[in-house]
């Protein structure tokens, strides 16, 4: 009986396990998790922090799921290294687990800046239930929280804390927030909305030191300014958990490199989710697009590869949907127009409406929609399939842009109108 070992119990690992079990009733499936929870909706922790949902809503897969699907779930187990010669995972407690197929779905971790005091109690990356719970525990004694960095996760934490009536100051080195996913205009709109709702954005500085006796008490900025804060959230992005790959001969760059079938360079080892660096059809090179939807899809691709179905992965795309205080923003691909690219945009600052599309050689390379977010998925599909949109370029920004506008474009789509 073949055995699949999946390291990581989140989107990629679970979707892989579930799909595998659907295809193969016999195969033995083991999931290893460092955490103490069955699968949960990782992306909902900001909603949980904000108090928008209760903890029960975080449950993605209850215990029952694992038993029903005959999946062995080993919680609180950290893989120490991979012995790819012997096809074994070595746990930190030296236990060895044999595998026929290994799936690296161990995700990513927050990037922590190397500053003094970064490991003090009260400093959080914002990625796990424990992070959210840790913050919630500190709420009663917290007046002010500091978010280091203007990235998506940090701002989501800022939003959640603000909704809990905590003073929030976001420390950003550059002048733009959300610089990884938004262009200047849309970022400005978000920033304005955050500021209007009482979140302070401190630009042009970065944290130099976390001050406090064991517990975090304040943040000292490079400007010399000291901000009292008992919660600090580090929102400077994440890095793939590639430590396992490092000594085991698995090739990696930023993340573990995979081919169109999510295979690493070692034949029976696969990677999926936030750890994987896969082809990005928009960037036309490999990239780590650490996102829930990508992770799910990649897990399915891995399952297809292991079961011999060999489904080709169309590639991952960077895409995000966020909403701050009633201002929804969706973006994907390239949002800051590089040289040699074309952009079309429509802006109504007064109403907070913004639509921008970036193209290259009449192929959509990215888009940002603010407030009026409907129908952006049509553009995403056109971008992923690299469809030449020259025939409808003048219509792309129309407020009533909809699927029927693509009727003369040839690409993989369903027949809707007869």
């Amino acid at each position: 009986m073949k055995r699949v070992v999946i390291i990581g119990n989140s989107a990629a690992g679970i979707s892989c396990a579930e799909a595998l079990r659907k295809k193969d009733k016999e195969i033995k499936i083991t999931i290893l998790s460092r955490e103490d929870y069955t699968g949960y909706n990782r992306c909902l922790i900001s909603y949980y922090l904000a108090g928008d949902i209760k903890e029960d809503k975080l449950v993605y897969k209850p215990k029952k799921f694992y038993s029903e699907n005959d999946i062995e779930l080993l919680l609180n187990q950290k893989a120490g290294r991979i012995d790819s010669k012997k096809n074994q995972v070595v746990l930190e407690d030296k236990t060895r687990i044999d595998y026929d197929y290994l799936v690296l779905a161990c995700g990513a971790s927050p990037k922590l800046p190397e500053i003094k005091g970064i490991h003090k109690k009260g400093v959080f990356g914002f990625r796990t239930i424990s992070d959210a719970k840790g913050m919630l525990e500190l709420l009663p004694i917290t007046q002010t929280a500091c978010v280091l960095g203007g990235g998506l996760i940090g701002l989501k934490a800022a939003y959640g804390l603000k909704k809990r009536k905590i003073e929030v100051k976001v420390i950003v080195k550059s002048s733009q927030i959300l610089s990884q996913i938004l262009d200047k205009e849309s970022a400005e709109m978000c920033k304005r909305r955050l500021v209007e709702n009482g979140i302070e954005i401190v630009s042009g500085s970065q944290a130099q030191e976390i001050i406090g006796e064991g517990d975090c008490r304040a943040v000292k900025l490079d400007s010399g300014k000291v901000i009292a804060a008992s919660i600090v959230v580090v929102g400077k992005g994440v890095k793939p958990n590639i430590e396992l790959a490092e000594d085991s001969g698995i090739k990696f760059e930023e993340g573990v490199l995979v081919d169109d079938y999510m295979r690493t360079n070692i034949p029976n080892i696969y990677a999926a989710g936030d750890i994987a660096q896969s082809y990005d059809p928009i960037l036309e090179k490999t990239a780590v697009n650490a996102l829930w939807p990508n992770a799910i899809e990649q897990g399915l691709i891995v399952a297809a590869s292991i079961s011999g179905e060999n489904k080709k992965y169309p590639g991952s795309v960077g895409m995000n949907s966020v909403e701050f205080f009633g201002l929804p923003v969706i973006s994907f691909g390239i949002t800051k127009t590089p040289d040699g690219f074309e952009e079309i945009a429509l802006k109504d600052i007064r109403q907070d409406i913004y639509r921008k599309i970036v193209l290259k050689n009449n192929v959509i390379k990215g888009a940002v929609f603010v407030k009026k977010i409907e129908n952006i998925g049509i553009l995403l599909k056109l971008a992923r399939l690299k469809v030449d949109v020259s025939g409808i370029k003048d219509k792309l920004l129309r407020p009533d842009f909809n699927f029927s506008f693509t009727k003369d474009l040839q690409y993989d789509k369903e027949e809707v109108y007869i």
């Binding site: 909403e323 009633g326 699927f403």
Partner: protein, 145 residues
Amino acid sequence: MKKLYYNSKKCTACKTCEIVCAIGHSPSKDLYTAVLEENVALPSVRVYVGQEENYPMACRHCQDHPCVQACIAAALKYDPQEGLLFDQEKCVGCWMCVMVCPYGAVRPDFRDSKSVRCDLCVDIKDPRCAKNCPTKAILYVEEKR
């Protein structure tokens, strides 16, 4: 499974489908009550008006269903017989489904942060839009593939 298809030539954009959809998904299911409800029900079908033809659009219940993969709240499931199953209770309004829907058929309802999508009128097992289209421009027939 049966799916909705639209004859764009026959559609006069009368929006009867939108109205019967909204009423059918309102708590009262009665026109006069529904329009006065606090949060009026939103139609999950929407008619886009074109130059010569008109284009209704509702969830395709497509076999690819990228929305299911994108949903961060596990509110969506796909069943080959029943199509997309949406657990509105679980929806948190993250709009990831809006982001990935290649048909633009899922729409956000910002009032209570829930997405709005066609459920093929499971309650009566007969989509109201097709049943009530005065020009029979909306067809409910076996999936074409």
